[in-house]
């Protein structure tokens, strides 16, 4: 099994996640797309770990998972507090810092 297939799959999923960030307006869906991008990068790290024959890539992917967990907690709390003040989870509504 050629490992580059995994890299191609990760690239495809990363692109799908990026499209989700660009196309969706609901903040939670944008956030889920960011999670998808993080995961596809993790797949790349695991594949490179295998290509190089060391476990450093897997440790790196593990750290990415830890940081992603922390990021999800804080991000969802921010979405919640924005929703509480503005009654909306749309990212187009949160534009008070625009000018």
């Amino acid at each position: 099994m050629n490992p580059s297939y995994y890299l191609l799959l990760a690239a495809l999923l990363f692109t799908i996640g990026a499209m989700g960030v660009l196309l969706r307006r609901n903040a939670i869906l944008v956030f889920m797309s960011v999670e998808l991008m993080l995961n596809s990068v993790n797949l790349t790290l695991v594949t490179f770990s295998r290509l190089n024959g060391t476990l450093d890539g897997q440790v790196m992917a593990f750290f990415v998972m830890v940081v992603a967990a922390a990021e999800v907690v804080v991000g969802l709390a921010i979405i919640m507090s924005i929703f509480r003040t503005r009654r909306s989870a749309s990212i187009d509504d949160a534009n008070l810092l625009k000018y």
């Binding site: 490992p3 609901n26 509480r84």
Partner: protein, 253 residues
């Protein structure tokens, strides 16, 4: 998988390779379809469930690449914890908070589609030419002791400082979430004795009439109303219908 591999003495390795290929070709299309479903789903809960499917496919792909520890962590952390958190917040924010169709930037969707297609083309062609048919070193040598032991060895020697810093990050995240999501109640909640005292001090201490009873009378001699507004004489007990009634509340239909 070429057929001469199957007849070679290294049959175990070859069969391992076919198993990995089957795993990949089962999970990769599933992951792609579920990711597309997540981006295109109209309902946010459906998107979260599609994302759960993607995460499970990722766990399968990790397991196929000699990373059983990461596969388990993926299932536990992502599908178990993070996605449930997403679903909780979806329920709090409201499931029907769908996307607005107003385009703030004109032509953004078309531009995003074009940029995405171009990005995917560039990335995939670059990967294809950079890695090529390189099979890589493989992890069978470093995983000899066991994958978990190998990762632990690295984590607690070479990366021990990063591992310690992680604890500070997690505590900061937990505190930040508590500070951000906390809401002060404007006044303390009324207790039951306070509520009953308040009711007896009010002008009308009686309980409100039960549902289905017409508002200004709660006597059983008051007939119910039919859908067209007329009174239903059969709703009053026969003994009360011909009785003189208290204050003429029983009216003949």
């Amino acid at each position: 998988m070429s057929p001469d591999l199957m007849t070679s003495p290294d049959l175990v390795l070859a069969l391992g390779g076919t198993g990995e290929a089957v795993t990949f070709w089962v999970f990769a299309p599933l992951a792609t379809l579920a990711a597309l479903g997540m981006v295109l789903a109209r309902n946010a809960v459906h998107a979260a469930l599609f994302l759960a499917a993607v995460m499970l496919c990722f766990a399968g792909l990790y397991a196929a690449q000699d990373a059983p520890f990461l596969a388990a962590v993926q299932v536990i952390v992502y599908t178990g914890a993070i996605l449930m958190l997403f679903l909780f917040v979806l329920m709090l924010v409201g499931v029907d908070s769908s996307d607005s169709l107003v385009e703030t930037l004109r032509g953004q969707r078309v531009a995003a589609l074009l940029v995405g297609l171009g990005f995917a083309g560039v990335l995939m062609s670059a990967i294809g030419s950079a890695v090529g048919g390189d099979e890589g070193v493989g992890l069978s040598a470093v995983n000899e002791e066991g994958n978990v032991i190998g990762i632990a060895r690295l984590l607690f020697t070479k990366y021990v400082f990063a591992f310690e810093v992680t604890s500070a990050l997690l505590i900061t995240a937990a505190l930040g979430a508590m500070v951000l999501a906390h809401k002060e109640r404007p006044q303390s909640r009324l207790t039951q004795p306070e509520m009953s005292r308040r009711r007896f001090l009010s002008a009308d201490p009686l309980p409100l009439p039960g549902p289905g009873v017409f508002a200004d009378h709660d006597s059983t001699a008051t007939p119910a109303l039919l859908p067209d507004g007329s009174e239903a004489p059969s709703s009053v007990a026969a003994a009360l219908q011909d009785a003189p009634g208290d204050g003429g509340t029983v009216r003949q239909a």
